[in-house]
């Protein structure tokens, strides 16, 4: 466990000393929140900002989770990964370090987005509801970062990862329940959206916001996390260059 902390410390120091990238990843979700959340003329609800905020929070975690892959890709290209693999410490520590770092970084970014949302007029919820929101976001972050870091092991260079990244993130976002409720979706989109893991997280947060206990969705996300992380650990243990 200690070793995971050292790996996280390394990534954290590199992140906060990067100056620009601390803020750059916030621009996109903040822009969605402000320009779409406040401006889009929507008929199905009188407060679109409250509706779209869970979607934007999950979107923030999505790009944070996929950035885990970018981090590992650069470690791989620059030779750090080989050095880490040649260490006697268990190789899954590298994986856990990346998962936890990117998920925690995602939660920090999500917090800033949440603060912006409240500042521009989103509803304030109870501490329990926020607690549930964070739990759901954390599970979703772990799921995405475990997936993206493991995917990188099979890719050759940063270009192919960047391509996969764009290929995944935009379609996932638009085919989820982030922007509109199931009731106003065309039939074909409703089916796709209900199978999209992004929707699991978004729907769970919306359920928590209405005061419900989204046990089912949290359970589903948790189970997905365990399965994907399990596969990732298996792959990392056997990895060769």
């Amino acid at each position: 466990m200690k070793r995971v902390v050292w790996y996280i410390e390394r990534d954290f120091l590199r992140w906060v000393r990067g100056k620009v990238n601390v803020f750059s990843s916030l621009v996109m979700p903040a822009a969605w929140l402000i320009f779409v959340g406040l401006a889009l003329p929507i008929r199905f609800t009188d407060n679109y900002l409250d509706f779209i905020t869970p979607g934007i929070l999950v979107m923030t975690m999505l790009s944070a989770g996929l950035s885990g892959g970018t981090l590992l890709m650069f470690d791989k290209i620059l030779g750090f990964f080989n050095k880490f693999l040649a260490l006697p410490s268990p190789r899954e520590d590298i994986l856990f370090g990346k998962i936890l770092f990117t998920s925690l970084r995602g939660l920090i970014q999500a917090t800033i987005i949440l603060v912006i949302a409240v500042l521009i007029g989103a509803k304030i919820y109870t501490p329990l509801q926020y607690g549930l929101t964070y739990l759901i976001l954390l599970l979703f972050g772990i799921l995405l970062s475990a997936f993206s870091t493991t995917l990188v092991l099979y890719l050759e260079d940063h270009d192919s990862y960047a391509a996969v990244n764009t290929m995944i993130s935009m379609p996932l976002f638009f085919t989820s329940s982030a922007l509109m409720p199931y009731s106003v979706m065309p039939d074909w989109l409703r089916i796709v959206a209900s199978l999209n893991p992004l929707s699991f997280a978004i729907d769970a947060i919306r359920a928590a916001d209405t005061g419900a206990m989204p046990v089912m969705q949290i359970g589903e996300l948790g189970a997905l996390c365990v399965i994907v992380t399990g596969i990732s650990v298996y792959v990392f243990r056997r990895v060769t260059v």
């Binding site: 200690k2 070793r3 050292w6 790996y7 410390e9 390394r10 120091l13 590199r14 000393r17 990067g18 620059l78 030779g79 750090f80 080989n82 050095k83 880490f84 693999l85 040649a86 260490l87 006697p88 410490s89 060769t240 260059v241």
Partner: protein
């Protein structure tokens, strides 16, 4: 028990054979694997550091099998890849401390102070690596590799891209480590460095080990004198008895001669008779460069120099 033992170690990438039945033992010495680009040097290091599984054959590092006991192998070795992978946004001390902690060294902070002092980085330890020169980054990598006092040190092209002074410093450190009983396995392109600092060298081409001995022994084994001729314009081997051409590149022809002093005037005459303009002729003892060209040239006909083909080609041009 030798620090490194390999037996028929083989690695294929698809149908390409990167390392071909390589048998080797290395112990408490500086051993250099020499070879052209793509000859299998790095593949060899990757297998011995457990980053790549061999296709067949076996190897042990400090007595541990590289396939079955990967973790024990990794505990006894350190690996410095050729990429200069140090975090430029961290300080030298932070870089070294990370490795000391990951290796589970006792008193990591004291140990880091020690290795930084050995690598003469104490004064700059708390500066960001961004501000370090190439030579300092290399030394920092060595410091990282030494934190856990490894038995075997693998260095992939340790002096690549460094200036003369930085290279000299790196070799000073490597030589000192060997004196302390460490086994050092190096890959390099630089023959002069291998000649001066390594106890034994292995020459590898297309995955096959062609020569293995001390640099002095390899040179002595060539036995003969080397004559180099700088040629102006078109070149064709005048074919003198007792003199064999073994390489021609950049207008410089290298010959092996049984008796250099006697061959020199004969070769000069032959050149004049065939109408080849010679700028200079030099007689010298063989260097490791010559050994390398001789060994690699013999094995690798399409890429290396082939006298017969070369002559046929020139004849056709007339």
């Amino acid at each position: 028990m030798n620090a490194i033992e390999t037996h028929d170690l083989t690695r294929y990438y698809g149908t390409l054979c990167a390392v071909n039945r390589l048998t080797l033992s290395v112990d408490r010495e500086i051993f250099a694997l020499l070879g052209p680009n793509g000859s299998g040097k790095t593949t060899m290091v990757l297998m011995l550091t457990t980053l790549l599984l061999p296709t067949s054959g076996s190897a042990t590092v400090s007595g541990h099998d590289i396939v079955r006991s990967g973790q024990q192998v990794r505990r006894t070795l350190s690996y410095v890849p050729q990429d200069m992978a140090v975090d430029i946004k961290l300080t030298g001390r932070e870089n070294a401390l990370l490795f000391a902690r990951l290796y589970g060294v006792l008193n990591p902070k004291d140990r880091v102070d020690e290795v930084l002092a050995v690598m003469q980085l104490t004064g700059r330890a708390d500066d960001l690596v961004r501000t370090y020169s190439g030579g300092m980054r290399r030394r920092l990598e060595l410091a990282q590799a030494l934190v856990h006092e490894p038995e075997v040190l693998f260095l992939d092209e340790p002096t690549l891209g460094l200036d003369v002074a930085a290279r000299a410093t790196i070799w000073e450190h490597i030589t000192a480590l060997k004196k302390d009983g460490m086994t050092i396995f190096i890959t390099t392109h630089y023959m002069d460095e291998a000649d001066r600092f390594c106890n034994r060298v292995g020459i590898i081409t297309k995955g096959t080990l062609l020569a293995l001995d001390a640099p002095s022994a390899l040179k002595a084994h060539m036995g003969n004198d080397v004559i180099t001729a700088r040629i102006d314009g078109e070149f064709r081997d005048p074919a003198v008895d007792g003199v064999t051409l073994f390489s021609y590149a950049n207008n410089e022809a290298s010959y092996l001669a049984e008796n250099g002093r006697e061959a020199l005037p004969l070769l000069a005459d032959a050149f004049i008779k065939s109408g080849i303009r010679v700028r200079s002729l030099a007689l010298r003892e063989p260097t490791l460069d010559d050994v390398f060209l001789h060994t690699v040239g013999k094995s690798e006909e399409p890429v290396g120099f082939d006298q017969t083909k070369f002559r046929t080609m020139l004849r056709r041009r007339k």
